[in-house]
């Protein structure tokens, strides 16, 4: 029997979901939808009778203080409307095979309470006014109520008597007759099989099997495609590239190795015995020294393509995935904090401007933020730092970067797997989720992606991952396993393939625990179901390991054995389904050779359209300095992100020292987070980021330099030691098969090398996501392609000896002196002044590689000596924005005079709004000014004025008043844009 328990809020409670649907319907112009009552249902398949279901509802499923419920028995036959109302009922159910976490928990809880069920499923219900038009209901269903990638909508009472589960699987070994194919057939196979391989790759595979005198099995082909995918092997950037620009002509054998890795090698060489890097660019995360007991790991990843299709699930599993990276680094690291950076199209984009097949950017933003929130918060990992960038070119390709920082004992940083060790899958079960995620993320999206790639969407379960992390770290400390890695893109295929690359492995696919029946051996092998880790467990430790996992309710299963055959052998119920040479798998891929060109002033046509002037800020003219400041404060990139930050737990684990929001009302924008990861030590981590795609439109070299400078100066601003800052690179670019697109990337990588060496900040890990383009056919039938702006995220991980020396950016005390540190130059190119005026021109900010490190060192000396009460970095909007933020965050006025900067011969406007790098606005206690000036001697530093008791920001130039505005007005402009409900 199938029972439905439908739960609705009591009348005195707000029906928030219903109200949300009504307001979304109004926004979409669906005038016939006026009333919506939302509810939720549990569908319970069981032999139990109605009395038992009623009891379960009352005792377990319902909160009787705030909820009503109804129990009804469902049947397959269409009958009279069971709920008897005149309205229209829409039910939203997960598609079969999609993970339903609440249903799983509920089924277990029912079992614990004595009610045995065959299956449980959840469902959302919407009762809508009966005269709503069918066409509008259909639109509501697809645009608001359900995401077609994972859910389906059933109109009217449910007519079903059982919950659909997977059907059985009939084993059939499949070979692919690749040997006889011509080039066209090879490419058709690559496309239809979602292998995403190029022709030379397909030809190489073909040649290999001709030599083997047999055809590959389907699972062999999948394994090769996945191992060679851009996502897993970074074949473009680690490949051969011929790069040319105005000054250089370089033939790279391995571009990444010769730029970014090379910087780290050089820095380590210079450090000699003082080298503090431990493991870089080889494990799942970069590792550096922290203290005598612990090293610290950092990794950032992107999950862009899945987030475009299903923002909640994509971002949710994006964070879940990156947490597993440090957990799978060395012998496992304990997560201590998360970071997140998002790039969206403007949330006020009119629906009429949306390309077909694209979710509205506000829907994307809400979904992504909720996804990150629910994973990080549930895992008990504070999300402490991030940024959001808005640009119309992210319309089809939002970017979702997630990072994780973790601590690992100094003696647990190396894996030591031996042939003979069991291959053990720990954590979540394998299902049909995320099939082809690795190859999917290596291709361009188009308007059909949502339907074609629905299977690539994964659903996360943070609680399972938390349980896995707890038990894995306990097992690590008991020495129960010899190696560990995460199951990420490519699933078991990638995890086992990598772990066994140097030895060999045999996997028994039928042993893997499944969420439901019906998976083929290939699906088991490549599924990207979440929350799984693969461990190498020595046979002698298996019993203890298994018992430990069982004691915490975590499933651990032997699925194979590491061997010394240098082959990857897969079996299904004893039948061999794959036998691959590890060498061919990991070394057989033909080298990718690419052309890359960068010419000043020449941009690919698609990237020519820089962000349009913002539509959302009305107000004073941008011709006056005060007007321009208000507009910049209210621009999406600069405005307060409190709406996001307050949804994240940034304090769990009790290590929070400098929070993302600071100041007298806890709402000013912190430059970086400071976290004290060990409760018994005062040593701290500083976490920050830098990203500025708008400079990349002018010159990717200086964009990259600016991103590194921004990330590092943010760290410095809170008190980090410049001699201990490690950085990560995350490149998100368009289609690098175009020489100019790859050219801009290489140019950025060259900059990364130069700046990292100059700053002494080693890159310790990185990742790239290419092909971030979206194609569609417009109303005139013309194919359009939207390419994202070249987006390099630099994440910085700083350290400080004593967190008690940290400083925050809010003005502290009237009477204190205010200084500008660093040189302002005529660098308005890509600035926010241009952005709010809709103008262009000027050069992108550069970095003085000689002087910047000296400024950082002197600033650190001043901060650690207690000479500085507040410090804020200058970035978007320049001096004017930094001054405004410092003032309103502290609830104190500033009175500044630019006269001391007269020697620069720059216009007032340039002094106020130029976004030159390596600058800080600093508050110094009046009695310490001499010490401060001495510490900064020889560097550009100007005393501009003081903190006042007033409630105004005043900036003048001699006798001329430039800005005179009430703090409340500035703050309101800054807080208003993203003050969402």
């Amino acid at each position: 029997m199938l029972w439905e328990v439908e739960i609705t809020p009591v009348p005195s409670e707000v029906d928030r979901e219903g109200a949300h649907v009504v307001s979304e319907a109004r926004r979409l112009g669906l005038g016939s939808i006026r009333e919506v009552r939302a509810g939720k249902s549990f569908l319970i398949q069981t032999d139990a009778d109605e009395a038992a279901i009623q009891r379960a509802a009352a005792e377990l499923l319902v909160d009787p203080v705030v909820e009503h419920w109804k129990v009804r028995k469902l049947s397959a036959a269409a009958g009279k409307s069971a709920n008897g109302s005149n309205g229209v009922l829409l039910n939203v159910l997960f598609k079969p095979g999609v993970t339903d976490n609440v249903a799983l928990s509920t089924r277990q809880a029912l079992q614990d309470s004595g009610l045995t069920t065959e299956a449980v499923s959840t469902c959302r219900t919407y009762h809508i006014n009966g005269d709503a038009s069918d066409a509008e209901l259909k639109r509501l269903a697809s645009r608001v109520l359900a995401n077609d990638a994972i859910e389906h909508v059933i109109t009217g009472p449910l007519h079903m008597d059982r919950i659909s589960l997977g059907s059985g699987y009939q084993f059939q070994l499949t070979h692919v007759a690749i040997r006889g194919m011509d080039d066209k057939a090879l490419m058709d196979l690559s496309r239809t099989g979602q292998l995403s391989c190029s022709l030379p790759e397909m030809q190489t595979i073909q040649k290999h099997y001709v030599e083997q005198q047999r055809d590959p099995t389907d699972v062999e082909l999948e394994t090769i495609a996945q191992t060679w995918s851009e996502h897993c092997s970074h074949k473009t950037l680690a490949g051969r590239i011929h790069y040319r620009d105005d000054e250089r002509d370089i033939h790279f054998k391995n571009m990444l190795k010769e730029t970014i890795f090379a910087a780290t090698v050089e820095i380590r060489r210079r450090l000699g015995d003082a080298d503090w890097c431990v493991s870089v660019f080889r494990d799942n995360a970069g590792v550096v020294k922290f203290d005598d007991q612990f090293n610290v790991c950092f990794k950032a990843e992107t999950h862009n393509h899945p987030s475009a299709i299903e923002p909640y699930g994509g971002a949710n599993t994006g964070l879940g995935g990156v947490i597993r990276d440090p957990l799978g680094t060395g012998l496992g690291a304990k997560p201590v904090c998360n970071t997140d950076v998002f790039c969206f199209a403007p949330p006020d984009t009119p629906d009429s401007e949306l390309p077909p097949g694209v979710l509205h950017p506000k829907v994307v933003a809400r979904g992504v933020v909720s996804g990150v929130r629910d994973y990080g918060n549930r895992m008990g990992i504070p999300t402490v730092n991030g940024a959001i960038v808005f640009d119309p070119r992210y319309i089809g390709n939002p970017l979702v970067y997630c990072g994780n920082i973790a601590l690992i004992p100094v003696d647990q940083c190396e894996k030591r797997m031996q042939p003979g060790d069991w291959i053990v899958a720990v954590g979540g079960r394998t299902g049909r989720d995320g099939i082809h995620g690795a190859t999917f993320s290596s291709i361009e999206l188009d308007e059909h992606s949502e339907t074609v790639s629905g299977g690539a969407v994964q659903i996360g379960n943070a609680i399972v991952e938390k349980m896995v992390a707890d038990v894995v770290l306990a097992a690590r400390d008991r020495g129960l396993y010899s190696s560990i890695t995460d199951c990420g893109a490519g699933g078991f295929s990638s995890a086992v393939g990598e772990m066994g690359a140097d030895t060999g492995a045999e996997v028994w696919l039928d042993k893997a625990p499944l969420k439901y029946a019906g998976l083929s051996y290939t699906e088991i092998w490549i599924s990207e179901a979440q929350e799984r880790m693969v461990l190498a467990v020595p046979q002698k430790h298996w019993d203890e390991f298994h018992k430990l996992c069982e004691s915490e309710g975590v499933e651990a299963t032997i699925i194979g054995q590491f061997t010394d055959t240098h082959r990857l052998v897969l079996k299904y119920h004893g039948e061999q389904v794959a036998d691959l040479s590890m060498d061919f798998l990991h070394e057989g891929r033909p080298p990718v050779v690419r052309e890359a060109v960068w010419e000043e002033g020449v941009r690919s046509q698609e990237t020519g359209d820089r962000s349009k002037a913002p539509r959302h800020v009305a107000g004073p003219s941008t011709d006056t300095a005060t007007g321009a400041l208000l507009h910049i404060l209210g621009s999406l990139n600069v405005c307060s992100k409190e709406w996001v930050i307050r949804q994240y737990d940034h304090e769990v684990q009790a290590g929070s020292v400098v929070k993302p929001l600071v100041g007298v009302c806890d709402d000013g924008p912190s430059d970086a987070a400071v976290v004290r990861p060990v409760l018994t030590s005062n040593r701290g981590l500083a976490v920050s980021c830098g990203i500025n795609p708008h400079f990349g439109d002018l010159d990717p070299y200086w964009m990259a330099a600016s991103a590194i400078d921004e990330a590092v100066r943010n760290c410095i601003a809170v008190g980090a030691n410049p001699e201990r800052i490690a950085i990560l690179d995350n490149f998100c670019w368009g289609n690098t098969q175009r020489p100019e697109t790859l050219g801009s990337l290489v140019r950025a990588a060259l900059s990364c090398r130069d700046v990292a060496i100059a700053f002494g900040t080693p890159f310790i890990s990185g990742k790239d996501s290419l092909n971030n383009e979206f194609s569609y056919v417009d109303k005139e039938g013309v194919k359009q392609t939207v390419v994202i702006p070249s987006s390099l995220l630099i994440s910085a991980l700083g350290q400080m000896d004593d967190v008690n020396t940290a400083v925050t950016m809010d003005a502290k005390e009237a009477g204190n002196a205010v200084y500008l540190v660093g040189e302002t130059k005529d660098e308005l190119g890509g600035s926010h002044l241009h952005l709010v005026r809709g103008t262009t021109g000027g050069a992108a900010p550069r970095v003085d590689l000689e002087r910047a490190p000296k400024i950082f060192a002197a600033m650190h000396k001043a901060i650690s000596s207690g000479l500085i009460r507040a410090c804020h970095d200058l970035s978007e909007g320049g001096l004017a924005v930094a001054a405004a933020e410092t003032a309103f965050s502290g609830g104190l006025g500033l009175d500044l005079d630019l006269a001391p900067l007269a020697a620069s011969k720059l216009s007032d406007e340039t002094l106020l709004f130029s976004e030159s790098n390596t600058r800080f606005l600093v508050e110094v206690p009046a009695p310490r000014t001499a010490d401060f000036e001495q510490t900064l001697a020889g560097l550009p530093v100007s005393r501009l004025g003081k903190v006042t008791h007033g409630d105004r920001l005043v900036i003048r130039s001699g006798a001329k008043m430039l800005i005179d505005a009430p703090l409340a007005e500035l703050k309101e402009a800054w807080q208003a844009p993203l003050r969402w409900d």
């Binding site: 409670e13 707000v14 928030r16 009352a58 005792e59 377990l60 499923l61 909160d63 009787p64 203080v65 705030v66 976490n101 609440v102 928990s105 509920t106 809880a109 614990d112 929130r373 918060n377 549930r378 008990g380 943070a462 609680i463 938390k466 349980m467 915490e552 309710g553 930050i645 949804q647 737990d649 940034h650 304090e651 769990v652 684990q653 009790a654 020292v657 400098v658 929070k659 929001l661 600071v662 100041g663 007298v664 009302c665 806890d666 409760l679 008690n804 925050t808 809010d810 502290k812 609830g891 409630d951 009430p966 703090l967 409340a968 703050k971 309101e972 807080q975 208003a976 003050r979 409900d981």
Partner: protein, 295 residues
């Protein structure tokens, strides 16, 4: 007097257990992080503890409702052991998810065993008025005066971080009864005055059109009555009568939504750099009170 032994009870999804156990230890207690499964295997194990603490987190993902599944284990197999525990001179602390568990198990508000049937519960903790998980610092006023954990504390600043922290009683008489028995021991109150002034100025600057999270001009009129609903962010979740924490009638059980374990060190305060705070955080006193009760 030996250090009291503390059971910090964790379930799948609990995530504040480490720092909570640390807090008890730092105050001289002997804290053990115990998995719920160990107690389910051997309920009698509860006999060896004097303090039971259910820390924050998302037990069982808060699937079905916050704290529900964890609470059903307490009501089920652990019922007898809990009844026995409550009979002894013991303390129980539920923080955030732990408070939700205590309330949904029926241990609060009554503090006695057996608890009422779920359909007869006098109150619940449900979704914040703003409909979403919210993390921010609050200022709290201690009332009632006889809860062991709050001894010597009049006011305290602590952070909240939850989605379901709004107390909703079945009817208004429930609150009256709690007040009469001194059970409403922790209430959200106005945050710093300077901030309120700022917020008022913002309202004025915006021409009165926009408000800072619903702060209205006449809000100050409610200063006198601690039960008059404060606006966000002062009352972060819309909890009835600004209730942030509840005691049982004896004062030995405390459930609270704010996190005292997130203010063990001065540097956890969001404004420590402004106020030049150093050393211990005010939240430590709540744990110290518990340990000293057995001193």
């Amino acid at each position: 007097m030996p250090a009291p032994s503390v059971c910090v009870l964790r379930a799948p999804g609990t995530n504040c257990d480490v720092e909570t156990a640390y807090a008890f230890e730092a105050c001289g207690g002997t804290a053990e992080r115990v998995h719920l499964y160990r107690l389910l295997e051997d309920p009698a194990r509860l006999k060896s503890y004097q303090i039971l603490c259910i820390p924050g987190g998302f037990s069982y993902g808060d699937d079905i409702g916050s704290g529900v599944i964890f609470s059903r284990h307490l009501r089920g197999r652990l019922g007898e052991a809990l009844g026995e525990f409550l009979q002894r001179d013991t303390l129980i602390l539920g923080i955030c998810n732990g408070f939700q568990v205590l309330l949904k198990a029926g241990i609060l508000p009554g503090g006695h065993w057996p608890p009422p049937a779920a359909v007869d519960f006098p109150a619940t903790l449900t979704w914040n008025l703003n409909g979403k998980y919210t993390a921010l610092w609050t200022k709290l006023k201690v009332a009632g005066g006889k809860n062991v954990f709050l001894k010597g504390i009049d006011e305290i600043e602590l952070p909240v971080a939850h989605g379901e922290g709004r107390i909703v009683p079945r009817d208004p008489s429930v609150i009256e009864q709690w007040k009469a028995q001194g059970q409403v021991v922790l209430q959200y109150t106005w945050r710093e005055a300077s901030c309120r002034a700022m917020a008022g100025a913002v309202v004025a600057a915006a021409g009165g059109g926009a408000t800072f999270g619903g702060l209205s001009d006449d809000a100050d009129a409610s200063d006198g009555d601690p039960d008059a609903l404060l606006p966000f962010p002062h009352n972060p979740n819309g909890s009835t009568a600004n209730i942030a924490g509840l005691s049982d009638p004896t004062g030995r059980v405390l459930g609270l939504m704010p996190h005292p374990e997130r203010f063990l060190f001065a540097t956890q305060h969001p404004q420590w750099t402004r106020r030049k705070l150093s050393g211990e955080g005010s939240g430590m006193q709540i744990f110290r009170n518990a340990v000293e009760y057995f001193g």
